[in-house]
């Protein structure tokens, strides 16, 4: 019966919303056919051990196998512990069961997974635990040669399943720098890899690595690397510049920057300067599975708008506060208790329309009336707009406009931390950049800017651009948060005062309710669309752009 269902899945995958290879089209294209047939797939539960010395080798093997197994159909899904950075793997698993009638069979060991999916692999490639960079080379080979990646102690396991050695990296890169290793990998593999997508498999390095997104890179035959976008590492920077310059226009760089070798600001600046999109993080799991589902038949995004697009509101003599969660719908907040008790705007990574539609549908269907979705971040991917080449800006923002229309989003969140120092410092937009946004998004309600606080502000017609006046550090004591907000209210003494607050991932909503209750005077927490409409009615904020004289933490390349 199970085998029959499995065959049925493959037959139906082309007819009822499941996709073949390749990401979803940028339209939801709802099918009128109801989903009535059970689909078969398999699920594994991962623990939280990503140490190279213990848990990583088997996870790397399984993630590479997942990428291969999910090439033609969504067959293997991974659930991570609740404290994993992407906490939606379990809710999404339930969503697939409920909305897509996926029946999951548990695979509890690597042996069981290989038994089920060994036919998806042609062999194995051995990476060198003593040279952690070799894992990225192995992932590249995995995608190109249909190989699972193993350490030497896992060789007997894969051989037991009849897999043959395709390559062995042990000793090949001993004593070499990352630049030397990747120069060799480029020579060997770059010409054959996907030029629309590249995998920046950075993040943690050394004794602990979390290549949770590698299934996606393997499936899509991407080139894996963790080259540094750091002028202090000129050899690596030169290699990365070459790779970025040889990607196709409009390509996406998946993953995340390598911790300790460069900064998020450096890497996003570099990628943006080529007009390319960034899509993180390196540990985002299951894209090889998620990408193969469209939106369920009949599903249409309907945002929880609180005001008509053409409405005109009048602000009163009071303080208006609005809360925004960015970081791809907060990464770790959506499922925490308290959501819905306060109006919150959630920044949606628009590109998930292509790569993870089910996740977006899950968020939308589980939204409360207080959850309002906005587009981000800066465009159709994570980009720093001050550095996007002028000739590439219109096309990128056309993509963003189209995605926002599909997602029923009417506010764009912008972030440019190229000159910032983490979440403090200079996060402002040049006037030229602001001009471009107003030209590219003539119909949005307004724009918001920043990550940490920023001071880019404008109002043109009915469209305000407001920067964050406050960023809530999740570790900051709530009584100090309340005192900070009260101080901002005191210093900005004109009324109305529009206080835009960025709520950093992992802040819980219940604690913010406590904060709001401590605020004195006439304050009101309003949804972001209402906030922007009110901000358009009485401009008590200054017009300001990035001042060329203001210090920049990173001076650029």
């Amino acid at each position: 019966m199970k085998n029959f269902s499995f065959i049925l899945v493959l037959i139906l995958s082309a007819t009822t919303g499941l996709r073949g290879a390749g990401p979803a089209p940028a339209t939801s294209a709802p099918s009128p056919a109801p989903i009535a047939v059970t689909r078969e797939a398999f699920v594994m539960h991962f623990d939280g051990d990503w140490l190279v010395a213990s848990g990583l080798p088997e996870k790397a093997l399984l993630i590479s196998l997942q990428g291969l197994a999910n090439r033609k159909a969504p067959l293997l899904y991974v659930i991570h512990p609740k404290d994993y950075q992407w906490e939606i793997t379990e809710p999404l698993y339930e969503f697939y069961q409920r909305k897509w009638h996926v029946h999951f069979t548990e695979l509890s060991t690597a042996d069981a997974a290989l038994t089920q999916f060994k036919s998806a692999a042609k062999g194995y490639v051995v990476w060198d635990k003593k040279v952690s960079t070799s894992l990225n080379v192995a992932f590249t080979i995995s995608g190109l040669e249909d190989a699972v990646v193993v350490t030497e102690d896992l060789i007997p396991l894969v051989q037991k399943h009849g897999l043959k050695q395709i390559d062995d990296l042990r000793g090949r890169y001993t004593g070499q720098t990352d630049a030397q290793i990747y120069a060799d990998a480029i020579k060997r593999y770059w010409s054959r890899t996907n030029k629309d997508e590249m995998m920046l498999m950075g993040g943690q390095r050394g004794a602990l690595m979390m290549p949770g997104m590698a299934d996606w890179g393997v499936r899509e035959k991407m080139f894996f690397h963790d080259l540094a976008a750091n002028p202090e590492r000129p050899d690596e920077l030169a290699l990365e510049k070459r790779l970025l310059s040889e990607l196709n226009p409009g390509a996406t760089v998946f993953g995340w920057h390598p911790y300790g070798k460069d900064t998020e600001e450096m890497h996003t600046t570099l990628i943006s300067s080529y007009g390319l999109k960034m899509e993180g993080l390196h540990n985002l799991p299951n894209l090889s599975f998620n990408c193969q589902f469209t939106f369920t038949p009949g599903f249409k995004f309907t945002n929880n708008s609180h005001v008509a697009l053409d409405a005109k509101l009048e602000a009163k003599e009071k303080v208006y506060i609005s809360f925004v969660q960015s970081d791809s719908i907060g990464i770790g907040v959506w499922t925490k208790p308290g959501r819905g008790k306060l109006p919150f705007a959630w920044q949606v990574t628009m590109n998930w329309t292509k790569f993870s539609p089910a996740a977006l549908e899950y968020f939308h269907e589980s939204a409360t009336p207080n959850d309002y979705f906005i587009g981000g971040l800066s465009g159709p991917g994570y980009m720093y707009p001050n550095h996007i080449p002028a000739d590439k800006f219109p096309l990128l923002m056309k993509q963003a406009n189209d995605l926002m229309a599909q997602l029923d989003e009417h506010v764009l969140e912008i972030m440019d931390n190229s000159a910032a120092d983490g979440n403090v410092g200079n996060a402002d937009l040049t006037k030229e950049t602001v001009d471009r946004y107003y030209k590219a998004f003539p119909t949005v309600i307004g724009f918001i800017n920043g990550y940490g606080p920023a001071r880019t502000r404008d109002l043109r017609g009915t469209q305000p651009m407001i920067s964050y006046d406050y960023y809530i550090d999740p570790k900051r004591p709530r009584e100090e948060v309340a005192a900070d907000l009260e101080e901002l209210i005191a210093l900005n003494s004109k009324r109305p005062y529009f206080l835009l607050v960025h709520v950093r991932e992992s802040n819980d909503v219940n604690s913010l309710i406590t904060v709001v209750k401590q605020l004195s005077g006439p304050t009101e927490v309003v949804p972001l669309d209402v906030f922007l409409k009110l901000a358009a009615s009485n401009k008590t904020y200054t017009t300001r752009y990035q001042d060329p004289e203001e210090p920049k933490h990173f001076s650029g390349f």
């Binding site: 120092d421 920023a454 960023y471 900070d484 005191a490």
Partner: protein, 177 residues
């Protein structure tokens, strides 16, 4: 009688002179005890180096944030009000309240409590989203009993909650670490 009067006169003259002198124990390198202090925001560590020459007191702040190091010095004068450009305060850096580097803060300083406490009052120009404004600061640098601990209590005209930073004296050799 004349001798007694002279003694009294000299004594009265010495009172203001005493008020101009701080306890020498305040001088030196102080390291913030962050767990016992008001939570820093946008800063990781804070050191304070105090030295004085005559009526002038130098308050040097050595701050870190991740790999970033910032050093800023406010030199105040207990004899007369001064104007200080780039006046430094331990700011809450996740608030959109920005120093205005080109505008000077008006600062007065006084030794009180027999020289155990330096009181600093400043009118600090800042920029917010509604434009430029002034934040009034009231600081007390209090030397605690025993001379090994210092507490900085800061009040803002705009904040109902005091900021209380506790420092411990750091020997010169370990101050470099």
């Amino acid at each position: 009688m004349k001798r007694t009067f002279l003694k009294l006169l000299v004594g009265l003259c010495l009172v203001p002179l005493a008020a101009l002198a701080g306890d020498a124990s305040l001088n030196g390198h102080w390291r913030m005890d962050t767990p016992r202090s008001t939570a820093l925001d946008g800063w990781s560590t804070a050191d304070l180096v105090i030295s004085n020459a005559g009526s002038k007191v130098s308050l040097q702040h050595d701050m870190t944030w991740r790999a970033t190091k910032v050093t800023a010095t406010n030199t105040v004068d207990t004899a007369a009000p001064v104007e200080v450009k780039n006046f430094f305060r331990i700011d809450q850096r996740h608030m959109a309240v920005y120093a205005r580097p080109t505008a000077a803060a008006k600062v007065t300083a006084t030794w009180i409590d027999g020289g155990n406490t330096l009181r600093v009052e400043a009118l600090v120009p800042v920029e917010t989203s509604q434009g430029n404004t002034i934040m009034r600061l009231y600081d007390e640098y209090r030397l605690l009993e025993g001379g090994k601990e210092l507490v900085l209590i800061e009040l803002h005209s705009s904040r109902s909650r005091p900021l209380v930073y506790r420092f411990t004296k750091v020997p010169a050799e370990s101050a470099k670490q």
